[in-house]
Symmetry: C2
Subunit: 340 residues, 2 copies
Amino acid sequence: MSSPGASTLAETVSAGSPIGQVLELIAPKLELVEQELRANFSSPIRTIQEVADHVLEGGGKRLRPTLLLLIAKMLGYEGRKDVTFGAVIEFIHTASLIHDDIIDDSAMRRGRASINYKWGNHLTVLIGDYLYSHAIRMALEAGDLDIVQMLCAATIEMTEGEIMGLANNGRADLTKDEYFDLIGRKTAALFGASARVPAMLVGLDESRQKTLYDYGYKLGITFQLVDDLLDFTSSEETLGKPVLADLKDGKATLPVILARSRANEAERRKLESVMLTKSFDEVDPLEVQEIVTRYGAIDETRKIAREYARDCKVCLAGFPDSPAREALEFAADFVLERDR
Amino acid sequence: MSSPGASTLAETVSAGSPIGQVLELIAPKLELVEQELRANFSSPIRTIQEVADHVLEGGGKRLRPTLLLLIAKMLGYEGRKDVTFGAVIEFIHTASLIHDDIIDDSAMRRGRASINYKWGNHLTVLIGDYLYSHAIRMALEAGDLDIVQMLCAATIEMTEGEIMGLANNGRADLTKDEYFDLIGRKTAALFGASARVPAMLVGLDESRQKTLYDYGYKLGITFQLVDDLLDFTSSEETLGKPVLADLKDGKATLPVILARSRANEAERRKLESVMLTKSFDEVDPLEVQEIVTRYGAIDETRKIAREYARDCKVCLAGFPDSPAREALEFAADFVLERDR
């Protein structure tokens, strides 16, 4: 839990403040989510239990369940299904991270050895499958068919986004529209779904369900944009991975897309070279950083991220003012400012 | 469709016979299953469509949907959900095969280039995920929550079986009990689920649902035992893969388990050596074949497979005699005799 960037929403606010108080109120439910995760990711099959222990020990910010619980709180939801669906969504997210480890061939995740590094690609795939199936089983047991369907659709979107990311790997000429479509599916859809679940649990009308989905979706976009920024602005130490790792992995991030559209031919070729060769053999990382900064691509990405964070707060305007709503507004700033 | 072993149940009986006639009766529904597969494994995302075309072109025996449709026929089911769930189960099966390609690092599947060979491990994982999610989506749309739950449990069992197989890879000392537990989960559970779906669709009582599940489960065990036998008895040409491939992959099959328990120390070490080194560098394949044959392990495996085929027919005894029931009995012989 002490790995870089693992600080939770609650850890960033003072305990006595109204937001701190509401986060304290949902803390017992967040602990129940952890219990659900442990209870459902456990097995008499030793290999599964070993991986489960490793994964659950690794922790995580539990941002999606926190979001879900806060909205449930704001809407006055009194049941216990928010805990169940919080765990379901965290499982879906975890399964996608586990399968992503295969995709990126990344040896580290959250500062710990990733599963595929420790147990091999084979088992990593199967453990991800196991988690996905368990998530669906838990959701089915809760019994709200419409919510399970919505989560299933979000999972499909997420997988589509991952596939699009892979298909577009190495492409420096990704358009802004293609980029936002991609991250919308890959990252924002599951945030949107997390925010929509409590709206469905309390039976809000379709339009207000959609507004809360939008809140989550826009928060997810903000989250991804900040992730993109961190590839340029964070150091290896605080990020837990080398800077410009996305670029070196052939992933077009918004700063690169914006810089590329303004750069001259020689500069363009430098950006493309890193993405295609997946190395800094021919281009110095500092040179890339310099190009991206000089064309204002970092500043503009930051500006767009702030706009999304602001828009996501606007989605909450129609709901009565409350500490829970304040905490949700604060979540946007938290995502914006996080120093993963 | 002309790849070795892709012959369907219908292709092995004469058209005029009672069994041939019932298979002709379900043929239009099997074609509807194909349509469901095509309609649901299609996407505006080009990469997904490319893989979908490749996978669906590859065909397959559609043994599980055939089984499901025949039982629906036997039970006089009149609706169309048998088609939906037939496609759902075929998708689950296909997703597991696709992820299995990563597991085995096998370049060929059904005589065609496997997906991971053609598109890489990354995409292979995601396409499997996509199919699993789509299968659940389709099942949810059909709306029978209890059936979706049952299929979800079978999928979890299947994944557990795969994980156990992996955890036990290289172990020549697997016990018979461990072996049957493993193949029961890995292979038989989904066959059992295929057979139970129509029983649930027509609302049979729990005990008769269980009997039909047992039919499918035992058919699945027979299927796996014959698979084990083929590793020893089939030639590379008819099998589409090298003989003793399972052994060389470190997988303990029943013939090896039985032979090992009877072999002397030197012979034991030979069997173990192939499984551990995953090569025939130190042991000649013919020598292995000779050991396994000499201790009667092939004959005994064949005998056990026949017993399972017989037991699986017995499960049908309580249902009224009909061409569909005859076809299901014949399915056991078909699985027993198949020359994949």
